[in-house]
């Protein structure tokens, strides 16, 4: 199952995004919970050291409000200020976006984090201190309540977009922040004017094979003289029925030249509205 999801921007151009994995999200939330606790502790120490002299009541008031703000607004404030990220999400390189592709609104962020009560804090409380929840009720009530709440905790594991209940009501999606890395254009750097291919030779493979070859060549930069590269070159030469001319051509050079010629041909056909996805079935012989 692919983890790519299409998102339509308000400008009408679809963008592909990779879903964040459940593991990444779990690590992120654990980092955030830890930070919340540390933050609470630091606030407590600061207040006790600075404001508490003779004014214990005021210090207690400040601490109560600070704890409340940390508990209820740590996630919403950070996700709003850091464009869908919290320190935990930053560390795991994931972020919250709106599922519709539009802006991430304050109410969406608040709503998605309100449900942490149901999905995170209650299940944690039930796991860590069952008596505190079901106190005063018969045990079976606590059991049913516990099972029910755990259903919401495992929700992200059982739907294909890994949506948790908060994502459902917030209309949000958690995705990986893609790396921005522009690699060299192999078509420009690896063209070999010396080598010529006939049109029939370039009408065999499709876009899929071209992009596979591109991936091989990008690896090939580091293993220029490997036998694997030679094997790929030989396979292609056999398939397109290509014979070396007078001068010797290394597999690396051959593949570069073939890539450039093949891409030029396929892109030319693309401009005319013909997109070939896969290679033509071989008349005889082995597929590459």
């Amino acid at each position: 199952m692919s983890s790519l999801r299409g998102l339509e921007t308000p400008e009408g151009v679809p963008i592909q995004l990779e879903l964040a994995s459940v593991g990444d999200r779990l690590v992120a939330v654990m980092i955030d919970l830890m930070l919340m606790n540390v933050l609470g502790l630091v606030l407590f120490i600061i207040v006790m050291l600075t404001g508490a002299r003779g004014r214990l009541e005021l210090a207690a008031a400040v601490i109560l409000v600070a704890f409340f703000v940390v508990r209820c607004f740590y996630f919403p404030i950070l996700e709003l200020r850091w464009r869908g990220q919290t320190p935990g999400k930053r560390a795991t390189k994931i972020r919250v976006i709106s599922r519709t592709g539009g802006p991430l609104t304050a109410q969406a962020v608040v709503a998605r984090n309100l449900l942490r009560e149901l999905e995170l804090f209650q299940p944690l409380a039930i796991l860590l201190a069952p008596a505190a929840i079901s106190g005063g009720f018969p045990a079976w009530v606590g059991l049913i309540a516990g099972l029910w709440v755990l259903v919401f905790a495992v929700l992200p594991l059982v739907n294909r977009d890994h949506l948790r209940a908060g994502d459902l009501v917030g209309g949000t999606l958690v995705v990986r922040a893609p790396p921005m890395l522009l690699l060299d254009d192999l078509g420009a750097t690896r063209g070999q004017p010396g080598l010529q291919f006939r049109v029939e030779q370039l009408d065999i493979y499709g876009a899929y094979e071209l992009q596979t070859l591109e991936a091989v060549l990008r690896l090939g930069n580091t293993l220029e003289n490997s036998p694997a590269l030679a094997a790929v070159a030989e396979q292609i030469q056999k398939r397109i029925d290509w014979t070396p001319g007078t001068e010797r051509v290394s597999p690396f050079e051959f593949l570069g030249a073939f890539y450039a010629a093949q891409r030029a041909r396929l892109e030319q056909r693309l401009l005319l509205g013909e997109r070939r996805e896969r290679k033509r079935a071989a008349a005889s012989g082995t597929p590459t």
């Binding site: 921007t9 008031a61 409340f68 962020v109 591109e214």
Partner: protein, 325 residues
């Protein structure tokens, strides 16, 4: 090759956008100059159009991946939230919050009925058998108040106390954080088909009914309500609003009606987010009234005036604010 030329012609503008996006993500929008800020959306739209064109003419997988990532990153920078605070704040209080509260009127009514049901049950049961007091009110909550307490004890709770100023602030902030946490929890728990929210409303009603009966039976009714309602109007109103939004969320999950379940939950989530923000402010106000005003002003007349005027204020606000002319 056209795709090679295409890339050569546009690469500089992509790189500029990449650098700007990088800087915004590292050090915020403020790190951009006015000129760069104006160029950002232009460059973003250019990158999007490059992406469309590249999908149509280019087969270079690396180029397509880069443009996709660039567009996705820039999209987050442009659509990642962060409206200017002041106008958004004003719009929220003048329009969004009262309108949202009005859209919840039926759920609000259900919340009132559930609370009323709890109160009636507690009142009638206690009138029949006062010994059941501890079934309704946990001992920790009662703090000695109950059928066995003397009139003087019950009355003393309602009277003004000379508490030191600093305690008032502590008391207020305790009440505020405690009530707001309960309100937000009853909102969030509504997702579980509304059942926990309904349960909270019923138990809340039981408590109100039990104390209403206790003080009513001793002939202290008016003093008790004068003690409760100045902050209670605001506090209970906020709690009922939270519960209404929670019930709405549970309803959206179970009965999405014409919408898809996802769309219906998202709509309910918007109401929930608005109500959560608005109700926290109401809980803060209620906490201040309860912690400061109630502890310092003992005169029943003034207490009633405050209770009445907060009721009128909220009724007018939620009834009239933000209606389109």
């Amino acid at each position: 090759m056209p795709s090679v030329r295409f890339r050569q012609e546009r690469e500089a503008s992509w790189r500029t956008l990449e650098a700007l996006v990088d800087r915004v993500q590292r050090s915020g929008l403020r790190s951009l100059s006015a000129d760069e800020l104006a160029r950002l959306p232009v460059l973003y739209r250019a990158a999007l159009s490059s992406l469309s064109v590249a999908r149509a003419i280019a087969l270079d997988a690396a180029l397509l991946a880069y443009l996709n990532a660039l567009a996705a990153r820039a999209h987050v920078v442009l659509y990642g939230g962060r409206e200017p605070f002041a106008p958004a704040f004003r719009r929220f209080w003048v329009r969004t919050f009262p309108r949202t509260a009005r859209s919840l009127r039926w759920h609000f009514l259900v919340a009132i009925l559930l609370t009323g049901l709890g109160a009636t049950v507690a009142w009638r049961e206690l009138a029949r058998d006062p010994a059941r007091w501890s079934d309704f009110i946990p001992p920790a909550y009662a703090q000695g108040r109950g059928p066995d307490a003397s009139d003087a004890d019950l009355r003393s709770v309602l009277e003004q106390k000379d508490t030191p100023r600093s305690s008032l602030i502590k008391f207020s902030s305790f009440l505020f954080t405690h009530n707001a946490t309960i309100g937000l929890a009853s909102l969030g728990l509504g997702f579980a088909a509304g059942v926990p929210t309904a349960f909270l409303l019923l138990t809340n009603g039981l408590i109100v009914g039990a104390f209403g009966w206790l003080y009513g039976a001793r002939g202290l009714g008016p003093e008790f309500w004068a003690w409760t309602l100045p902050h209670g109007v605001t506090e209970i109103w906020a709690l009922l609003l939270c519960a209404a939004a929670g019930l709405r969320m549970g309803q959206a999950l179970v009965f999405p009606r014409r919408l898809s379940r996802l769309a219906s939950l998202r709509r309910a989530g918007e109401t929930a987010g608005v109500v959560a923000l608005g109700s926290v402010a109401m809980f803060l106000l209620a906490g201040l009234i309860e912690g400061v005003f109630r502890q310092t002003v003992g005169d029943p007349g003034i207490r009633w005036t405050v209770a009445g005027s907060t009721f009128v204020l909220w009724s007018v606000y939620f009834g009239l604010a933000g209606r389109s002319p």
